[in-house]
């Protein structure tokens, strides 16, 4: 993926998240504070603005702009976490005009590690980690298929990971205050993570 493809990804993600703002907020209303949709939509709208006219030659630079912008516009728990995801990915891909499969895997993995370091969440704590983790494993395991297909499998794993958060009793984030009452609801951050990865697969398939 080159800079144009990465920009197309983010553009698609902004669109998909905007379309699903209400849905994400409703998920957050059930076990959180009803702002996840607005937070993500605000962040990605800002990113969209920042990327218009942004140089495309350095993927790392694009990802850094995305990370910094999300960090300074989302707020809440998801702001530092999505910001960290892109900033860590940017470090790995700094100076590269294009990311090959290995670099994509490295970037996503660095992002996940950053998220876990910042948020201290383990798998099955009912967070965005539960979408990103399975996605990375599916991507890594998808040998012998095209990049688009491999990212498609990652997105599908993210979708399943998000869905699998439903029965979990949350141990991190705001949902943890509900104790047992948090079970039975899908995690909003895992869901937005799935939308982000779905956009990535779509951009790669274009």
């Amino acid at each position: 993926m080159n800079g144009d493809a990465v920009a197309r990804w983010i553009e698609r993600a902004a669109g998909l998240i905007g379309d699903n703002e209400k849905y994400l907020t409703e998920l957050d209303a059930a076990i959180g504070d009803s702002d996840h949709g607005a937070n993500m939509a605000r962040g990605f709208a800002a990113v969209r603005g920042k990327l218009a006219g942004h140089p495309r030659d350095d993927v790392g630079a694009i990802l850094k702009t995305v990370g910094m912008t999300l960090l300074s516009t989302i707020g809440g728990a998801s702001g530092p976490l999505y910001g960290t995801l892109f900033l860590e990915a940017a470090k790995v891909s700094a100076g590269k005009a294009e990311l090959d499969r290995g670099a994509i895997l490295q970037s996503l993995s660095a992002g996940l590690a950053g998220i876990q370091k910042r948020g201290k969440a383990e798998p099955l704590d009912k967070t965005m980690v539960d979408a990103l983790g399975p996605a990375i494993r599916a991507f890594e395991g998808a040998e012998g298929v095209s990049l688009a297909e491999a990212l498609g499998r990652a997105a599908e794993a993210a979708r399943q990971g998000a869905e699998a958060t439903i029965p979990i009793v949350a141990r991190k984030g705001r949902a943890s205050y509900l104790g047992e009452r948090s079970a039975g609801h899908q995690d909003p951050g895992a869901t937005s993570m799935w939308l982000l990865l779905r956009s990535l697969a779509e951009a790669a398939a274009e």
Binding site: T25, S34, Y177
Partner: protein, 343 residues
């Protein structure tokens, strides 16, 4: 034109575009209190009018909007040097906190008073790292006083609620008195350790962007163990009499520290937004009676809506076991939009 803005139903709110709410409210605060504070627009924060105060430790707090007067209403002499408001119920971002920290640092360092929510903690953490990179000393006082939430190493831990107001007042006074960074922070932590809170909600609230109530409650139901973000509480129960509700809040609070007979306490009955003052005094009366029956001496009190959850009807009770130093700093002059005495 209805203030529905892409949301299907209009809301019972005085609102223009939801995305302008915080910005417009800040503009209103600047116009209403020019003697007290200055507003910075992008990134958004408030500082006391004479910031930075040379040589004084600065006290800064912030968090999602929707809890007013917390935090902006506590900016001024003897309390906060700066407040960073996020979107409604959304922690502020690191750049807001960093810029505000820089704006109020008078060379003696900055105390960050942070309510224990994952978002607040992470955003303040990142801002703190950046500030330290710039050579500004910062200390964090984490407030986590809500006994409705189980405390555990494996979860996000307890929420920060009512005690936040008391930490901000007492730290602000200590800073004003010239105390050093480490002292102010240590005092703030001591206040947090000695404060406990719990709340109930009789009605939900509506986040402007969401356009509908955060949860639904039957006409005879209440949420017990409510936070301040419109999130559901620990359990749902039938509404009870004010006296019974007060008992339901006081018992877990008293048992948690635990508060022992003979101690001096500050009793803070806080309205969550939509509950009239009249009812808060009814609760105060019963809470005072319960505290007294436990052998506690209520030496200071605070009654009113100070840390709210938009228009939510409900109440929280905070009990702080005070020592002589805390009382002295509580009594010290304060001049803010929402809390003022001695000046």
């Amino acid at each position: 034109m209805l203030p529905s803005f892409g949301i299907l139903r209009p809301m019972k709110k005085l609102l223009n575009a939801p995305s302008d709410l915080v910005k417009e409210a800040l503009a209103g605060m600047a116009l209403a209190h020019p003697d007290l504070l200055r507003v910075h627009v992008d990134p958004a924060f408030l500082v006391r009018a004479d910031a930075p105060v040379r040589g004084k430790v600065a006290v800064l707090s912030g968090g999602g909007s929707g809890h007013e007067p917390l935090h902006g209403g506590f900016v001024g002499r003897g309390m906060l040097d700066a407040a960073c408001p996020g979107a409604v119920f959304t922690s502020p971002t690191p750049d807001q906190i960093l810029e505000a920290t820089r704006a109020v640092d008078g060379g003696a360092g900055v105390v960050h008073v942070v309510k224990n929510y994952t978002g607040d903690v992470m955003n303040f953490e990142m801002a703190g790292e950046l500030a330290r990179d710039m050579g500004i000393s910062t200390e964090t006082v984490l407030v986590n006083d809500d006994v409705a939430v189980q405390n555990s190493l494996y979860t996000a831990g307890r929420r920060g609620v009512g005690t936040t107001v008391l930490v901000e007042k007492i730290c602000g006074a200590a800073a004003e008195a010239g105390r050093a960074l480490a002292d102010v922070a240590a005092l703030g932590r001591r206040v947090n350790e000695h404060g406990r809170s719990m709340g109930i909600a009789l009605t939900p609230c509506t986040v402007p962007h969401a356009g509908k109530p955060s949860f639904e409650l039957g006409p005879d139901e209440m949420e017990v163990g409510i936070g301040i973000h419109g999130e559901p509480g620990r359990r749902r129960a039938k509404i009870e009499s004010a006296d019974r509700i007060t008992e339901m809040l006081m018992e877990p609070v008293l048992d948690d520290l635990p508060f022992r007979a003979g101690k001096d306490v500050l009793l803070f009955v806080n309205g969550l937004g939509g509950t009239p003052l009249l009812e808060l005094y009814v609760v105060f009366r019963k809470a005072h009676e319960i505290a007294a029956a436990r052998g506690l001496r209520v030496v200071r009190s605070l009654v009113g809506p100070y840390i709210t959850s938009l228009e939510m009807a409900g109440v929280s009770i905070t009990l702080l076991e005070v020592d002589e130093e805390m009382v002295r700093y509580w009594d010290a002059p304060v001049h803010t939009a929402a809390l003022r005495w001695g000046v």
